[in-house]
Amino acid sequence: MRIDELKSGMILSADLKTRDGRMLLPGGLELDDRHIRMLARAGIEEVDVAPPLMELDAEMVRAVEGYVRDFYLYVNPDYAPMLELFRISLDRTAMAVASGWKLPSPETRRAQTVEHLDDLFLKDMGGPEDIVKHETDLASFPDMYFRIREVLDSPNVSADRLAKVVSTDVGLSAKLLKLVNSPFYGFTSSIDSISRAVALVGGQELSSLALGVSTISYFKDIPHELVSMEQFWRHSISCGIFARLLAEQQSGLQAERLFVAGLLHDVGRLIMFKKIPYASREAMLFARENSIPLNEAELEVIGFSHTDVSRYLLESWKFPQGLSSIINHHHDPMTFPDPLGPAIINVADNMANAVGISEGGMYVMPGIAEQAWETLGLDVNFIRDAVTAHDEQIDQIQRAFF
């Protein structure tokens, strides 16, 4: 919007900086006359303002509250981190509605019909190992990641050699470059080659990212009736970002690895969508109808959950053990001997669900394992800061992947 059209009360939609990168005003700020005069003096011609917000009447505010509350029925209402997430979900949902988003009706929130889809087997006639075997017999995992690992594990590993291997896959290279150029890394100048990325980000870190990117591109033919792939990956990327933010608060963790664990925490579910679509949909309906989290519904309806499937899947794909364990234990972090990684994904998954409600997320909050949160040793206030940091990164990272 041109500077002479600005009015006080408008909200800046992004940080406003001078040409040489000096911060003038932060995004989200409500402009007043003083700000507008200051911008004119600084020679700014145009700024991005958020679309005008609709005024929400009392009835609408109550509707938002009721809508959000439904997602929190399963969790401990007296638990401080949960309460904080609830308040964040409320604010975001109110903001989304004020920007024109319509609260989904109960009918649209139900999964679509999949009467034409067949399951690999009927209830109790097979297990997670059969699902995974059927999948891995048909298709093999993209081997680029393992070629990268080979280079990294060999003596005299050089950035150039690693770069050479990665560069043979044009799609992978492009995605990795987009990722390292996202605000996630905060490099001031743009990185235009893989060898530069290796030098700046590190070989191990880049190989973790390459594993994440390869895995995502593996999943293309998921029945769209069950779940919107865009929404599925948005939730996964959110979880990855939160996992990274949480990991940065701990010492001795490789943040990229937690990002990738967050990104892939639900891959077991994708295989279930492919192999047992009807049962997967029954589980979704059961979860909605009973207001319980999807993983609990999976156990009751199908007899095993998406982490049971990922356990076999990641093993047969020869994923690094550490990474697999973090993914496989995100719903029961404290049962794993080294619970820090799974605890991070457990919390990050809840945070991602909380911010996803205002974007059409369908499933109730799974609940933070209370010991998991204690393991992280964080203050409740950290949650809101992490959400702000997440919002600054999510769109660009999503664009890097898709």
Partner: protein
């Protein structure tokens, strides 16, 4: 900047103590066979809170006493059952199963009865919710028997633990959601368009007898006439192992030799009983009483 009070809480009223939860859970289990897992304590709390407020009760312990001793406890049990059951259902739910059922179970069975020179058929729809399943079975029979249907003596005994659901089933009027997997031709043939939705035609409705019934009541189970077929879909998933066994045994006793039990897509008799002979068909397992 928030439209919500900074003190807005997740908790909306009194909480249930662990002791009260166990008391109520055991009480519900004893009365209905439905088992509420500890993990669902908060869910349970919020589901019942409104009812406690309506009754002017100050604790879940008082509600437990109310259910046990109040003069209106019988009526309250009916409400309680409505609060703990769910009703996800629709006409022609699980079409693959229904196709297999029609081709591999119902047709041979009908042929068999004909061969014996009879025209009687009893079906039990246990846990019928708002009636979509038993009406679907009635329609399948009309489709299979054609003109001959009128000469058959068909009885579909349908029951549910929720009075609200039984009333809705007897009313027989349905919205689009209930019809979402129903073929258009079937809608035209067996329903009447009304302002409130689609009404099941009286000739179909009259095959079905809806009654309030608790599957945890052994005497009530024995009053059901003996059946050729029992349908019990998405019900036993709410029961614990012991209750599952009791209900399945009751179905076994109720079935005539050669009769069949059909369960929901997410249920099987694996780990429950070996009394039935499973017949495997694409889309379903039919459990035969030999």
């Amino acid at each position: 900047m928030s439209l919500f009070s900074s003190s807005i809480s997740l908790r909306k009223g009194i909480s249930i103590t662990d002791e009260e939860f166990v008391q109520l859970r055991d009480f519900i289990y004893e009365k209905s066979g439905i088992f509420v897992d500890q993990k669902r304590k908060y869910l349970f709390e919020s589901r019942f809170r409104k009812r406690l407020q309506e009754l002017g009760l100050n604790s879940f312990g008082d509600y437990h006493k109310f259910l046990k001793f109040d003069s209106s406890r019988k009526e309250e049990m009916i409400r309680l059952f409505e609060m703990i059951t769910t009703n996800e259902t629709s006409f022609y739910r699980d079409t693959k199963q229904l196709e297999a059922f029609t081709d591999k179970v119902l047709s041979p069975l009908v042929a068999d009865i004909r061969k014996q020179g009879k025209k009687d058929l009893n079906i039990w729809s246990a846990g019928c919710s708002s009636g979509e399943e038993p009406y679907t079975l009635a329609i399948l029979l009309f489709e299979l028997l054609g003109m001959d249907a009128a000469r058959w003596n068909i009885r579909i005994n349908a029951n549910d633990i929720s009075m609200a659901m039984i009333n809705k089933a007897r009313e027989g009027v349905y919205n689009d959601y209930a019809m979402k997997t129903t073929p258009e031709a079937i809608k035209k043939k067996y329903f009447i368009n009304e302002a409130g939705g689609l009404r099941i035609k009286p000739e179909v409705a009259k095959l079905v007898d809806f009654r309030l019934m608790n599957l945890n009541d052994p005497l009530a189970l024995k009053r059901i006439p003996r059946s050729h077929i029992v349908f019990c879909r998405n019900v036993i998933i709410y029961f614990d192992e012991d209750m599952k066994k009791r209900v399945i045994n009751a179905f076994y006793d109720n079935l005539m030799p050669g009769g069949y039990l059909l369960l929901g897509h997410s249920e099987s008799l694996h780990k429950i009983t070996k009394a039935f002979k499973p017949e495997f068909h694409p889309g379903t397992i039919a459990y035969k009483k030999e």
